[in-house]
């Protein structure tokens, strides 16, 4: 009898959990350390990062009072790096969250409604992308945070403008990714199905498109954190980033003249930048590979 038949449940697929790769723990561990140090580093019993100890100028690492040595000017490297972590992480996370937020709102809305709005947003993204990132940041920094010997711009002002300019750089990059992803999902049948049940456009975007687009943006967001740290470093070396060794890039910029006498002054911040960028890239790739697996199950 067909009216007594019940739907038969298929055998539950036993989830075989693959152990996570070692790299995942290394990258995750490094990022966790950086974030922890960035948040709580100022409470550590270490010399002040911006107070020079004139007894120890250019001390090598592993000396009694300075674990990672000092710079030629007597600044403690370890506390400098810890302070740099705070700024570098703060700047990159802020700009990625803001750029990703604004970019994905624009991208998803454009992809969902199409038409004229889409054309305007895409054109805007293209124009923004046609300006080289470094040049754009350079221009913004030198206009909005102009500083010379007589009236130096405060560090917080510089950080603010830096975040603003990096956000502007990131909006079209993350926006385009969320647009193309949302475009794909918008044409899926479950969007039409939800629409045919009378859900409003806002509900459909919030409940059906955003959850599907989010992993892609997250994956690219991690990659973006890495490249933003590099951009921040490049700007500091050009002399318009954060001044006075407050960030990793800035430490690098200050130390590059002393590479012959105290190479650790350059290598240590460079290593920090490299590890962080590699870790966040690895993390981004890992998130993306998980995402691909999930998609293949559908």
């Amino acid at each position: 009898m067909s009216n007594t038949t019940e739907a038969v449940e298929i055998a539950p697929q036993e989830k075989t959990k693959k152990p996570r790769p070692v790299g995942f723990y290394i990258a995750g561990g490094w990022l966790a350390v950086i974030v922890f140090v960035g948040l709580f580093g100022r409470f550590f019993p270490l010399p002040q990062w911006d107070e020079a100890s004139f007894d120890d100028l250019g001390v090598a690492p592993f000396s009694p009072r300075h674990l990672l040595g000092t710079s030629q000017d007597g600044y403690d490297m370890l506390s400098g790096l810890i302070n740099g972590a705070r700024l570098s992480v703060f700047i990159s996370i802020c700009s990625v969250v803001m750029g990703g937020g604004i970019g994905s709102i624009l991208g998803i809305t454009a992809a969902y409604y199409r038409g004229r709005l889409d054309a305007i947003v895409v054109t805007m993204f293209n124009i923004m992308l046609s300006i080289p990132n470094l040049v754009l940041s350079l221009a913004l920094l030198s206009v909005l945070a102009y500083s010379d010997a007589n009236n130096p711009a405060s560090t917080s002002r510089r950080v603010g403008v830096l975040i603003l300019s990096l956000t502007i750089v990131l909006i079209p990059i993350l926006g385009r990714i969320s647009r193309s992803s949302a475009l794909q999902w918008s044409s899926r049948e479950f969007i039409l199905a939800s629409k045919s049940m009378g859900s409003s456009n806002f509900t459909i975007i919030r409940k059906h498109i955003v959850p599907n687009v989010a992993p892609a943006i997250l994956a690219i967001g991690f990659l973006a954190i890495g490249s933003i740290i590099i951009v921040e470093g490049s700007l500091s070396i050009l002399g318009i980033g954060i001044p006075g060794g407050a960030s990793w890039g800035s430490m690098l910029a200050n130390g590059r003249g002393n590479i012959a006498f105290s190479p650790h002054e350059v290598y240590l911040p460079a290593l920090c930048i490299a590890f962080t960028v590699i870790s966040s890239n690895y993390f981004g790739d890992y998130v993306r590979s998980r995402l691909d697996k999930r998609e293949s199950k559908i």
Binding site: A7, A193, S194, S196, M197, G198, K297
Partner: protein, 323 residues
């Protein structure tokens, strides 16, 4: 009482680079509460477009003419907001492929309660209870556990049951089932069709069952509209159509269903040729080039929809069995 759905001379055309593509050409159909209509035709005959056009779920490139009356009210000129108020609570649709019609990243429970909360204004707890009851109604074993599952954990038949539960959740008057069984196993097809018929009677819904399979509509509809190249070419009560079909096209469709009793090795008859170009308006019967009984008159003049009595309409100059 006015019929649930009344289509008068509904046409749909798409604006394509090759010109206006006429997908539906002047269809007139009437459907009462609790009644079910099968729309049959081959791929590209306009059956899916017809059901989507009735709901107003067409892409922007499409234009619809003619009038659609829902419960006696003309809804052809409703704006987006007014139409959306009808969707779900007035008209609902079940889609062809349950594999793609559920959101892969959301739990079944969330998707099922979405319209209950959004459309009926239920609170979360009431919506959950109603959803569990609906799952039980569509015979999902262990509905509580089902609420927490993701679509990829379910088989096609289960997903289609979920889709049906979602479609009937807001008690629509009118249900469109767009090839609901095409993506399913033959064994599950019968169960799903049986379930649809039961629900239709229980909720006194009118239903349009779109399919390319005459076998599917035979036991589950009150009347049948056979579509070809955007036209309804035969429109009759189900029993009448099967016992006394007039259109050579309907006959050809029926002949091309494989049968168990034919000896092994027999060639399955197919309808030779293909549909005429939908962007062109050619004179004559659109089926002329494929029809075994074609005459010169068929090629020259398009036959009108003729009333053969007993609510039987057909579009043919030389119907099978005479006029």
């Amino acid at each position: 009482m006015s019929p649930v759905l009344k289509l008068t001379d509904v046409s749909v055309s798409f604006n394509t680079p090759r010109g206006m593509l006429k997908a539906v050409r002047g269809v007139t159909i009437e459907l009462n509460a609790g009644e079910s209509l099968g729309v049959v035709g081959e791929s590209g005959s306009g059956k899916t477009v017809l059901s989507r056009a009735t709901m107003g779920l067409l892409p922007r490139t499409a234009t619809r003419t003619g009038t659609v009356e829902y419960l006696g009210t003309d809804i052809s000129n409703y704006d987006a907001k007014q139409v959306r108020d009808l969707w779900g609570t007035g008209m609902a649709m079940i889609f062809q492929d349950p594999m793609t019609a559920l959101n892969p990243v959301r739990r079944i429970g969330d998707q099922l309660t979405e319209s209950l909360v959004v459309r009926l204004g239920m609170d979360k707890k009431a919506a959950r209870e109603k959803a569990v009851a609906l799952l039980k109604r569509v015979r999902i074993p262990d509905p509580d556990a089902m609420m927490r599952k993701f679509p990829y954990q379910l088989s096609g038949g289960m997903r289609q049951r979920i889709m049906i539960a979602i479609a009937v959740s807001c008690n629509p008057e009118m249900l469109f089932a767009d090839e609901p069984t095409t993506a399913l196993d033959v064994t599950v097809q019968a169960q799903v069709l049986e379930l649809l018929s039961e629900l239709r009677k229980e909720f006194n819904m009118a239903m349009i069952l779109v399919t390319h399979d005459l076998g599917v509509v035979a036991g589950h509809t009150d009347k049948i509209a056979v579509m070809y190249a955007g036209d309804v070419v035969e429109y009759a009560p189900t029993r009448q159509l099967f016992t006394n079909m007039k259109m050579p096209y309907t006959e050809a469709l029926l002949k091309s269903i494989p049968r168990l009793e034919t000896p092994t090795g027999t060639r399955l008859p197919v309808i030779e040729g293909r549909l005429p170009d939908p962007t062109k308006d050619e004179p004559g019967c659109p089926f002329a080039n494929r029809c075994p009984y074609v005459t010169d008159k068929c090629r020259a003049e398009k036959p009108p929809l003729t009333d053969g009595g007993n609510n039987h309409f057909y579009r043919c100059w030389f119907p099978i069995g005479g006029n």
